[in-house]
Symmetry: C2
Subunit: 209 residues, 2 copies
Amino acid sequence: MKLYDFERAPNARRVRMFAAEKRIDLEMITVDLGAKEQMGDAYKAVNPRLQVPALLLDDGTLITESVAICRYLDETNPEPVLFGTGALGKANVEMWHRRMELEGMQPTADAVRNSIEFFANRALAGPTNFDQIPDLAERGLKRIDLFHGLLDERLADNRYVAGDDFSIADIAGLIAIDFGKVVKKRVDDETPNLKRWYDEVSARPSAKS
Amino acid sequence: MKLYDFERAPNARRVRMFAAEKRIDLEMITVDLGAKEQMGDAYKAVNPRLQVPALLLDDGTLITESVAICRYLDETNPEPVLFGTGALGKANVEMWHRRMELEGMQPTADAVRNSIEFFANRALAGPTNFDQIPDLAERGLKRIDLFHGLLDERLADNRYVAGDDFSIADIAGLIAIDFGKVVKKRVDDETPNLKRWYDEVSARPSAKS
């Protein structure tokens, strides 16, 4: 298995961290998003959606969408459990994972891609160019603050995002929080429960992946 | 089990259609979003995120986020299979489901909630008010057209969105397409493969749920 990867891409980091938790070794192929290599013909032939990460299986099958890649890795390597246990446990992880995506990752991507110079004309990943929308960046910044507050409240009584056990919801939360550093949003002492969780989850070896 | 529901809400329809495919009877409790009933104290006590749908289990547990509800219904009622079979099958459904969400549902929500009068000051669901962003509505409309094109291409060689078998990806695609009618986007003869699929999937009894 080969993973088309770029170190600073948060969705690629999601897969790297998930694989590290599962102790799966992936052969990495760097696609230099900094040099817009994903827009070139070579990568277009691999993934016409021009997105990273993408997982190439030994039989030539390509899996894109970072959560779908995690799902594949989970099904082929069930331990440790990262998507929850039992019907209610799985639904609970899915619920919190969605919140991390919809309330965390999405607003952060809105803030980053609609403001910094590097993404001018590239406000969305993928094959079509879109202009930046400054009001959307502004809304994203406000929503990042709300997201920090939501997590701080949740983590007052829970060790991890989905409850007692580390899960993909923690990975999604962490990559969203760290992505926010691009627009100068950082975890601080005003959200002590979030900070406690952030320090703990950041210290996991997988977080360095 | 009781489902807090509103007929015209696409995410509620997702759950109704999923449950109908599984032949699960849910007791419905209507929350009248047309009258903004979800903003009132009664519903706030049920779901502080003020969103519909929400599934209340007999033991008092509340599951929110429509896909998490579907996950719970799937785990407790495995047949018929709607999330794919085997590691690769499940990853493939997840990949196409994500695309329906990110390339279909998200842009459609952007277009609808940032343009029509009813959602003035309510551009996002949830407890916080956000102003509409007209440029985001505009971008959403362009992306709905791209979404129709993406589906038309995919469905040229595939009966269903994820391949040979009907799945949650078809449900997500259908509710996104139908939600687009609010901003006058409809499937037409310019995308014949999409139209063939749309007619077939719309004719399923579950689509009337």
